[in-house]
C-alpha cells in the first residue's frame, strides 16, 4: 500500500519538480529576451523596449527602466503564442504533427531531474546536494534523454509533409548522430580523470563531479580539449548557430517548424532555449566547478542557508554567462554549410576526441602506475 511517508516524499518531489520546471521555463523565456536584446546591442539597436504591464509600468523610474530593458516582453510573447490563430495545414499528418512539439519539449525538461544546482547545508555542517534525483549515472541519463529530443524535430519535419521541414528533419537526425559520438567520447576522459584509482569517487554522478572541482582545478583547465569538443558538440546538439542546420532560415525557411504556428511553434521555441539552459548548466557542472567558487580556492561562503543561496547564485551566474556565450556566438559566427558540419563532426571532432581519450587513458594509467610503484 501507499503509505503516508511515501505520499509526503512524492508530494514534495512533485512540488520541487514543478518549481524547477517553472524556473527552467522562465529561464528559457528570458533567454529569448536576452537573445533579442543582445543581438540588438551587437547590431547597434536597442531591442524590445515597448511592452509594459498596466500598473508595474507606471512606477516612476523603475517602471520605465523595466520597460526599457523589455522585461515584460516574454509575457507578451507567450500570450501571443497562446492567442494566435491556430493554423494546421491540410497536408500534415495530424497525430505526429501535434505530437512533435511535445516530444521536443519533454526530454528537455526531463533532463533537469538529475541536474544539481547547489548544496544544502544541515545544522551539523554536512551538506546534501540540491537535486531532484541524485542518480549515480546522472550524466548518462542526461545524454540519453537529451538525445531523444531530436525525435521532436524529426517528427515535425516528417509529419509536416512538406519539403523544407523534411530536409530539416533529415539534417537534424544526421547531425545528432554525428555529434553525439564526439560528445560522449569527450566526456569519457573526464570520468577517467575524476574516478582514477585512489580517488573516492567511483560513479558518473554530476554531484560528485562538481564536488571534485572544489578547491582544485576546474576540469576545463585540466582537460581543455575535452571542454572544447564538448562545447562544440553542445552547440550542435542544441541546434544553435553556427550549427542550426535543421532550422536555417536562409536556406530552409524555418526548417522543421516551417509549418508550425501559434502555441505549437512556441513549444518548439521554448524547447530550444530549455536545451540551451540545461546545456549551459551541465557545462558549468562538469567543466566550470558547478556551485563552487573559483579554482584552487575554497568556497568563501558560510556553511548555512546563506551559503546555500550564495552557492546556487554563483552556479546561476556561471550558467547565465554561458547562455550569454551561446547568444554571443550566434550573433558573431556565420552558419556552416551542411557538408562542413558533417565534415567537422566526423573528420575533425571524432578523431580528436578519440585521440584525447587515448591520451588520457595512457596518462591516467601512467599516473596510476607511478603512484603504485614507490
Amino acid at each position: 500500500m501507499l503509505n503516508l511517508e511515501l505520499l509526503q516524499v512524492l508530494g514534495l518531489k512533485i512540488f520541487f519538480a514543478f518549481l524547477m520546471v517553472s524556473v527552467v521555463m522562465t529561464f528559457a523565456g528570458y533567454s529569448v529576451l536576452a537573445e533579442r536584446k543582445v543581438s540588438a546591442w551587437m547590431q547597434g539597436r536597442v531591442g524590445p523596449n515597448r511592452t509594459v504591464l498596466p500598473f508595474v509600468g507606471h512606477i516612476p523610474f523603475v517602471g520605465s527602466f523595466l520597460k526599457g530593458i523589455g522585461i515584460f516582453q516574454p509575457l507578451a510573447d507567450g500570450l501571443k503564442f497562446l492567442f494566435k490563430e491556430e493554423i494546421v495545414p491540410g497536408h500534415v499528418n495530424k497525430v505526429y504533427y501535434y505530437m512533435a512539439p511535445l516530444v521536443a519539449l519533454v526530454p528537455a525538461l526531463t533532463t533537469m531531474t538529475v541536474l544539481p544546482f547547489g548544496e544544502f547545508f544541515h545544522h551539523s555542517g554536512k551538506s546534501t546536494p540540491l537535486i531532484l534525483a541524485d542518480l549515480e549515472i546522472g550524466i548518462l541519463f542526461i545524454l540519453a534523454i537529451s538525445s531523444l529530443g531530436v525525435y521532436g524535430i524529426v517528427l515535425a519535419g516528417w509529419s509536416s509533409n512538406s519539403k523544407y521541414p523534411f530536409l530539416g528533419g533529415i539534417r537534424s537526425s544526421a547531425q545528432m548522430i554525428s555529434y553525439e559520438l564526439a560528445m560522449g567520447l569527450s566526456l569519457l576522459p573526464i570520468f577517467l580523470w575524476v574516478s582514477q584509482p585512489g580517488s573516492s569517487i567511483a560513479s558518473l554522478s554530476l554531484v560528485e563531479i562538481a564536488n571534485s572541482q572544489n578547491a582544485s582545478a576546474w576540469l576545463a583547465l585540466v582537460q581543455p580539449l575535452s571542454a572544447l569538443i564538448f562545447l562544440v558538440a553542445l552547440f550542435a546538439e542544441t541546434n544553435r548557430l553556427p550549427f542550426d542546420m535543421p532550422e536555417s532560415e536562409t536556406d530552409l525557411v524555418g526548417g522543421f517548424h516551417t509549418e508550425y504556428g501559434s502555441f505549437k511553434f512556441g513549444i518548439f521555441f521554448v524547447a530550444e532555449y530549455a536545451h540551451i539552459v540545461i546545456g549551459s548548466a551541465i557545462f558549468t557542472l562538469i567543466f566550470l566547478g558547478g556551485w563552487h567558487f573559483l579554482p584552487w580556492i575554497n568556497d568563501p561562503w558560510p556553511s548555512n542557508w546563506v551559503g546555500t543561496l550564495l552557492g546556487t547564485g554563483w552556479f546561476l551566474i556561471k550558467t547565465i554567462s554561458l547562455i550569454f556565450f551561446f547568444i554571443w556566438i550566434r550573433w558573431t559566427l556565420p552558419r556552416f554549410r551542411y557538408d562542413q558540419v558533417m565534415n567537422l563532426g566526423w573528420t575533425k571532432l571524432l578523431p580528436l576526441s578519440l585521440a584525447n581519450l587515448i591520451f588520457y587513458v595512457i596518462l591516467v594509467t601512467w599516473l596510476d602506475l607511478s603512484a603504485a610503484t614507490p
Binding site: 500500500m1 501507499l2 505526429y96 542518480l135 549515480e136 549515472i137 548518462l140 541519463f141 545524454l143 540519453a144 534523454i145 538525445s147 531523444l148 531530436v150 525525435y151 524529426v154 517528427l155 519535419g157 516528417w158 523534411f166 528533419g169 533529415i170 537526425s173 544526421a174 545528432m176 548522430i177 553525439e180 567511483a202 560513479s203 558518473l204
Partner: protein, 185 residues
C-alpha cells in the same frame, strides 16, 4: 497489487504494445517510432529491476542513436507505405508470426503447468548473486563500477568477440557500399 506491479504492467504493455504496433504499421516511419516506444518500455522495465545503467544504455544506444540512424535512412530513402514487395513477404511474415505465437503458447503452457497462472517466483531460475563477480571482492550490484569490472574480467572474451563481430560487420558494409573501380585491362 502495489505500485510496482502497476508500473510493471504499464511498462510491459508499453513494450509489448509498441512492438505489436511496430509490426503492423504500414508506413516505416511510424513503425520506427513504435519501436522507440517499445525500447523505452523495455528500458523502464530495467529501471524497475533497478538496472539503471542498463536502462540508460538501452535508451542512449538504441533509442538515442540506432533508431535515429534508422529514421535517417528511412527518410533519406523516402520509403513510403508498402515500399517493399509486401505480397511476397506477407506469406513469410504470416508464417513467422504463427511460429512466434505458437512458441508463446508453448511457453505459457509450460509455466502454467508448473505453477498455475499465478507465475509464482519459483517458476523462474534463481539468480546467484555471488556467482556474478566471482574472483573479486565486489558484491553483486548494478552499479557502473561493478558492471565494468565484470565486463573486463569474466566477460572479457565475449566482449572482445562482440566487438570484432561489429567491426567485421562495419568493414563488410563499407566494402559492400563502396563502389570499387574495376580496372580494365
Amino acid at each position: 497489487m502495489n505500485l510496482l506491479d502497476l508500473l510493471f504492467f504499464f511498462f510491459s504493455s508499453l513494450a509489448a504494445g509498441g512492438g505489436l504496433l511496430m509490426v503492423v504499421s504500414k508506413h516505416p516511419v511510424p513503425a520506427a517510432l513504435f519501436m522507440i516506444l517499445s525500447l523505452v518500455g523495455v528500458a523502464s522495465l530495467f529501471v524497475l529491476l533497478e538496472a539503471f545503467f542498463l536502462a540508460i544504455l538501452q535508451i542512449l544506444v538504441y533509442a538515442g542513436a540506432v533508431m535515429v540512424l534508422f529514421l535517417f535512412i528511412i527518410m533519406l530513402l523516402d520509403v513510403g507505405p508498402d515500399g517493399g514487395k509486401a505480397s511476397k513477404i506477407r506469406i513469410l511474415s504470416g508464417f513467422a508470426g504463427a511460429v512466434a505465437v505458437g512458441l508463446i503458447i508453448v511457453l505459457l503452457l509450460h509455466f502454467s503447468q508448473q505453477s498455475g497462472f499465478g507465475l509464482s517466483s519459483n517458476a523462474w531460475p534463481e539468480i546467484n548473486a555471488d556467482s556474478f563477480v566471482n574472483g573479486s571482492n565486489l558484491t553483486f550490484s548494478t552499479s557502473v563500477k561493478n558492471f565494468g569490472y565484470g565486463l573486463f574480467t569474466k566477460y572479457m572474451l565475449p566482449l572482445q568477440v562482440a566487438g570484432f563481430l561489429l567491426l567485421a560487420a562495419m568493414v563488410g558494409v563499407i566494402i559492400l557500399s563502396k563502389k570499387f573501380r574495376i580496372k580494365k585491362p
